[in-house]
């Protein structure tokens, strides 16, 4: 079809070009017009050349942290023992900010286009068909997903996304079971799970999480609930418990439920 030049490069395309295969004519034509794919390709090539030159990683010895702790702990104290703050750990940022950054980092990580394009998508969803201020301010359903179980633990659930009157998106996730260990994390991702945005953790059978404004739901159509360990690794553990693609209900506009 005439639309072939519109097709974004897949992860397979990027990997095969990065491993030295010549891109097909279609890919070349697309790259000429698509800045996003050019950037993805440039980054993939940077990854490939960095991979080809291994470098030794070094774990900092324990003394380094002790030094940091000592230097920072000394402030406002005489000497020696640092003053414990809250639960005894030194908090890096005020709590509200600290909870925000993994979401934003993951969003940035997923190559999320925040800005004109993404905002336009959301604005398009929110724009009432007629009359701007006529509709009373209430959340508008944007999409829903049935989360089918992926593992033999049979965790399943559903998710609903709404747009609040202030323009913010919220995703409510209901799950049938809560974690026996570790915690559950909620993600928006593409079908291949190569691009992910972390929305936050599941805090009960029903959890409502903010969705970063500007997210392009065409690029991140799947809601994914993962099993995570308390290992401090912010990446998806690779264990998806339940997932499902979102069906858009954004065009209904007037019909509640």
């Amino acid at each position: 079809m005439a639309e072939t030049a519109e097709r974004h490069l897949t992860e397979e395309d990027l990997a095969s070009i990065a491993t030295g295969q010549a891109p097909g004519a279609e890919a070349v034509a697309h790259l000429r017009t698509c800045a996003d794919c050019r950037q993805d390709l440039a980054l993939t090539e940077r990854v490939a050349s960095a991979l080809a030159e291994p470098i030794t990683l070094h774990e900092p010895p324990a003394g380094v942290w002790a030094g940091i702790d000592r230097e920072l702990g000394l402030r406002g104290d005489h000497d020696g023992a640092p003053v414990p703050e809250g639960d005894g750990t030194v908090t890096f940022l005020p709590r509200t900010q600290r909870r925000r950054w993994p979401v934003i980092a993951a969003a940035a990580a997923a190559g999320l286009v925040v800005g004109v394009t993404g905002a336009a998508v959301v604005a398009g969803l929110l724009a009432p068909r007629d009359g701007e201020r006529e509709t009373p301010p209430r959340p508008v359903a944007v999409g829903e997903a049935v989360l089918a179980p992926v593992t033999d633990r049979d965790v399943e659930g559903r998710a609903e996304m709404v747009a609040e009157p202030d323009g913010g998106l919220r995703l409510t996730v209901d799950v049938t079971q809560l974690p026996e260990q570790g915690y559950y994390e909620v993600w928006l991702r593409d079908e291949q799970a190569s691009r992910l945005i972390s929305l936050g953790t599941v805090s009960g059978r029903s959890t409502t999480l903010p969705v970063p404004s500007g997210v392009d739901l065409d690029r991140f159509p799947v809601v994914d609930v993962s099993q995570e360990d308390f290992d401090g690794n912010p990446a998806h553990s690779g264990v998806t418990l339940a997932a499902g693609a979102m069906t858009r209900t954004g065009d209904t506009g007037t019909a509640p439920q």
């Binding site: 491993t19 993805d40 960095a50 991979l51 990683l57 890096f92 950054w101 940035a108």
Partner: protein, 159 residues
């Protein structure tokens, strides 16, 4: 702060080791990076990735360390000729290598091993499939997923 250190300590220390090639200096520099980060935490924009911000501070600390070495060298003139010339900063390539290999270690098996075979040992995906007794399709999917995750790591570090 401890979380930031647990998450990014290895990256920062590895960058310092790569640039300074001296363990003691690298330890001092790493300590400085985190104490500076803490003291200038008001300037941290929480909408930006923390790793990228810390890398920026690491660059400045390393530049300062080189400047201090220069001053030291002028004082101890006699040894000046013996030390190799240093370019005084952390190169983009070194940052990419440390960031990518740090993220590679976090991928875990078998993806990390497969990427090493593909990019370090330069094996074809067919050869990797044969050695690991894995279907070619599985190897391919590990390669492209792994690359995507490493790309994400670079992107986050770029900020």
């Amino acid at each position: 702060m401890r979380e930031a250190y647990d998450q990014h300590g290895r990256l920062v220390f590895s960058l310092c080791m790569a640039a300074l090639s001296n363990r003691q200096d690298a330890e001092d520099a790493t300590q400085q990076v985190f104490t500076r980060a803490w003291r200038s935490r008001e300037a941290y924009d929480p909408t930006r990735p923390l790793g990228g911000w810390l890398t920026g501070i690491t660059r400045r600390v390393i530049a300062d360390t080189f400047a201090a070495r220069d001053r030291q060298r002028q004082l101890v003139d006699a040894t000046a000729g013996q030390r190799q010339r240093e370019d005084g900063q952390l190169s983009e390539q070194v940052i990419d290598r440390v960031v990518v290999h740090d993220a590679l270690e976090r991928l875990g098996p078998p993806q990390d091993e497969i990427l090493k075979m593909a990019f370090v040992q330069d094996l074809t995906q067919g050869q990797i499939a044969e050695r690991l007794g894995m279907p070619l399709g599985t190897v391919k999917s590990h390669v492209h997923r792994g690359l995507a995750r490493l790309r994400t790591a670079l992107e986050v570090n770029d900020g």
